[in-house]
């Protein structure tokens, strides 16, 4: 594969315009476009369109009366963005979201990698365990939200009972503001199945001869892990790092169910659980400040874009692609 890559580089790319023209003449290109057309149409109609609309709404007083068509939508300039800066709950919700993401992303990656490495070594019953580990991933997030309250109840929860067996008095996970986010992060680790499957596929793709060569050079298990395994699966790690970070920053359903919706009376919504998207949802669908909520959505989008860009820049030093240099 490396030789193919180097030979194509040696031949040099055809001139851009000529290459594009010749590509367009090929039947396969049109077939490919035809196949992706439904997605493109769906993206334009269901994602890009609403995004553009929400950008416009973020500069307006769009609310329930405008939705119903009883009042005209008025432009308010940067008013919604100014309010964002003045609302202390925005800073609070962003802080909560960042802390949660910082807790959940490394935890999920480490647990998923650990499970994948165990599964990669199991000769018999790997399929069974793969299914078992993946099952929580298909559990509805609403059910997980309820489970958080049941498992982490400070009085009779399973987690504290288990901790009690080894002599550790468990905290009040669901009521103590200091423990609400850790409990949410721990619960999120329960759903590492998808990440684990990605790592498992990446681990299986690591050429065995690299391990053999390393072993012959005297590398022990840790050395092989850090110098062979990690570099070889770094694209998968990077991909999940990006995806999990975005998911963490957008976390909603489990938290909303547990503390703001079905799982609670709604009267005991703790500030410690107020994630950014939860607050956005409340502004939009409980307080009907759609313009403000749109501004919130765009700020979060910008934050995610910046964080992702930073991740890409930093990744150039750590991610190794087969057939290419570190990028």
């Amino acid at each position: 594969m490396a030789s193919i890559a180097s030979s194509s580089e040696a031949a040099g790319p055809p001139q851009g315009a000529r290459r594009r023209l010749s590509a367009l003449r090929e039947k396969e290109t049109w077939t490919a476009y035809l196949f992706i057309l439904p997605w493109v149409l769906g993206f334009v109609a269901l994602t890009a369109g609403p995004m553009v609309a929400s950008l416009y709404f973020s500069f307006t007083d769009y609310g329930v009366q405008q939705i119903a068509g009883f009042e005209k939508t008025s432009r308010v300039g940067l008013e919604n963005y100014r309010t964002l800066l003045e609302d202390p709950k925005i800073a609070l919700s962003l802080k909560n979201t960042f802390v949660y993401t910082l807790m959940t992303v490394p935890a999920k990656m480490m647990v998923a990698l650990g499970l994948a490495m165990i599964l990669a070594r199991i000769a018999y019953g790997a399929g069974f365990f793969r299914t078992v580990f993946y099952l929580p991933d298909i559990t509805p997030p609403v059910a997980i939200g309820i489970l958080i309250l049941v498992l982490f109840n400070g009085s009779v929860g399973v987690v504290n009972r288990a901790l009690g067996l080894i002599g550790i008095p468990g905290p009040f996970w669901t009521t103590d503001p200091n423990w609400i986010k850790p409990s949410l992060a721990i619960m999120s680790v329960w759903t590492v199945g998808g990440t684990m499957v990605i790592y498992l596929a990446a681990l299986k793709a690591v050429p065995q001869h690299l391990y053999e060569a390393a072993a012959m050079d005297g590398a022990g298990p840790w050395r092989r892990f850090f110098n062979v395994t990690l570099p070889m699966i770094s694209p998968a790690l990077f991909f999940t790092f990006i995806v999990l970070t975005i998911a963490g920053l957008q976390t909603f359903t489990e938290v909303y169910t547990a503390y703001f919706g079905a799982g609670s009376t709604g009267a005991e919504a703790p500030d410690a659980a107020l994630m950014n998207v939860v607050y956005l949802f409340r502004q939009a669908f409980e307080f009907f400040n759609m313009g403000f909520a749109s501004a919130m959505a765009w700020i979060l989008f910008a934050i995610i874009m910046v964080i992702t860009a930073i991740q890409f820049v930093v990744s150039r030093r750590f991610v190794f692609y087969q057939g290419g240099d570190k990028r």
């Binding site: 329930v64 119903a68 009040f172 009376t265 919504a269 307080f287």
Partner: protein, 453 residues
């Protein structure tokens, strides 16, 4: 090749056009008939009624019969009111004719011009506004106009677990809210902590939810009558918050208290009273049904009293409202009238009484937003069930709405409520003093009201 495809395409297009025209011609005659009927027959589209027990279904059947008797139909799919769904329907201009929603939501929608005033409806159909409880009406009245027809009252009274009081050696007379000092002493005796674990709550003040009741103890309201001026950081509100948080802290703090309360089998047979997990707490009227159907309990129902010893209670519940843009507001109004006629309430109350009798279960009454219906149900249908605890509770519940108040509607009801709930949570979590928390809540609530009005 291209021309051949073009010809084929043209032929297909013509064929499709012919098919559409033919279908239209074929269906023209029935459509005219339907059109004639459509000018006479309408479908009343209803949205927001979720769980339907015998009482709800019985009243729906009565109202449906009235509408169908007029030659119209009713479309009333089961599903509770949800803001998102309602907004989606508004956006799609699929506006329901009649909506069932929480009374605390009515103000938010009314202030934004989404609901139509019902004063004309009540007048046209001869619905007597005076037959409704004043407090319930105040929850659906915004700027002097009526925007909803309230249904139930859910009045709050104190439920005392007699067995717990007896075990703790507390005189049930001391479980009252007039004398806060005595209540605090009783609370400390009633709560039970074993090996550092809370195993029974003494007196649960039920905050944040019932905080307005504790402020009313002083005779004060948390918002002005017109719903435009928040009064969250009054001296009285601060005192009420400090006191009620103190009752909770006596149990070892909010974390311990709530974690234990979350373990209750609230609607189950082995509920917190049957399981001896609580001694006393203020609770809405519906909960007597839960207790009546659970494992045997020994209870006393008491009024929540103010500082002078007078009974007070707070109402809550749902209401029927007609959205602006409803295609059939007249029919919707007739439907409301049929649903809430005294005769309808009496019919379903009688049916429930008979049903419960057949099942050998207790009938704990119906508590509607109409005083006239309540009186008739109690006098004509209700019969003491032979269980002195529940008979006493029913007698108290029937009287309770006379002493009722409700938090007045505000154009930012949701945000107003959230502001004081958040404040109480901050105090419960120990992050702010009552004064700091309520000052912040006052600022947040007033800003939201000013923006919405």
């Amino acid at each position: 090749m291209v021309s051949r495809w073009s010809r084929r395409g043209l032929a297909l297009a013509i064929a499709a056009l012919c098919a559409i025209v033919a279908t239209s011609i074929a269906s023209a005659k029935p459509a005219e008939v339907a059109g004639v009927q459509a000018t006479q027959a309408h479908t009343l589209n209803i949205y927001g009624l979720g769980g339907r027990d015998d009482v709800a279904q019985g009243r729906l059947d009565i109202a449906n019969a009235v509408i169908r008797g007029l030659g119209h139909s009713v479309n009333n799919p089961q599903g509770g009111f949800n803001d998102q769904t309602f907004l989606a329907r508004l956006a799609a201009r699929d506006i329901p004719d009649l909506v069932h929603m929480g009374r605390d939501s009515v103000g938010t929608y009314a202030a934004r011009g989404i609901l139509a005033p019902l004063d004309g409806c009540f007048k046209a159909e001869g619905i007597d506004k005076n037959s409704y409880r004043k407090a319930a009406l105040s929850q659906v009245t915004y700027r002097g106009k009526l925007f909803g027809a309230p249904e139930f009252t859910n009045q709050i009274t104190i439920i005392v677990n007699n067995d717990a009081a007896k075990k703790a050696g507390v005189d049930p007379a001391d479980i009252q809210t007039t004398n806060w000092k005595r209540l605090k002493q009783a609370n400390k005796k009633l709560l039970r902590i074993e090996n550092g674990r809370l195993t029974r709550i003494g007196f649960d003040p039920k905050i944040p939810e019932f905080f307005p009741l504790w402020v009313k103890w002083f005779g004060k309201d948390m918002i002005s009558k017109d719903g435009l001026k928040a009064q969250l950081n009054s001296r009285e509100a601060v005192a009420a918050l400090a006191y009620t948080v103190g009752l909770i802290n006596d149990h070892g703090g909010w974390n311990k208290f709530k974690a234990f309360r979350d373990t209750f089998d609230f609607f189950g047979r082995n509920n917190q009273v049957a399981a001896d997990q609580i001694s006393a707490w203020p609770m809405e009227s519906f909960y007597y049904n839960v207790l009546a159907e659970g494992n045997p309990v020994n209870i006393t129902a008491k009024f929540f009293t103010n500082r002078k010893g007078g009974p007070i209670t707070m109402l809550s519940g749902n209401a029927w409202a007609i959205p602006k843009g409803s295609k059939n507001p007249g029919l919707a109004c007739k439907y409301i009238k049929a649903l809430q006629a005294d005769s309808s309430w009496l019919t379903v109350a009688k049916n429930r009484f008979d049903l419960r009798k057949r099942q050998g279960r207790a009938f704990t009454g119906l508590y509607t937003a109409k005083a006239t219906a309540d009186v008739k149900i109690y006098e004509d249908i209700y019969q003491p069930m032979g269980n002195k605890d529940f008979d006493q509770a029913v007698a108290l519940l029937v009287r309770a709405p006379r002493y009722a108040f409700a938090v007045p509607l505000s154009p930012a009801s949701s945000e107003f409520r959230q502001a004081w709930i958040d404040a109480i949570n901050r105090v419960l979590e120990g992050r702010q003093t009552p004064r700091e928390a309520l000052d912040q809540a006052q600022r947040e609530a007033q800003a939201a009201i000013d923006k919405a009005k």
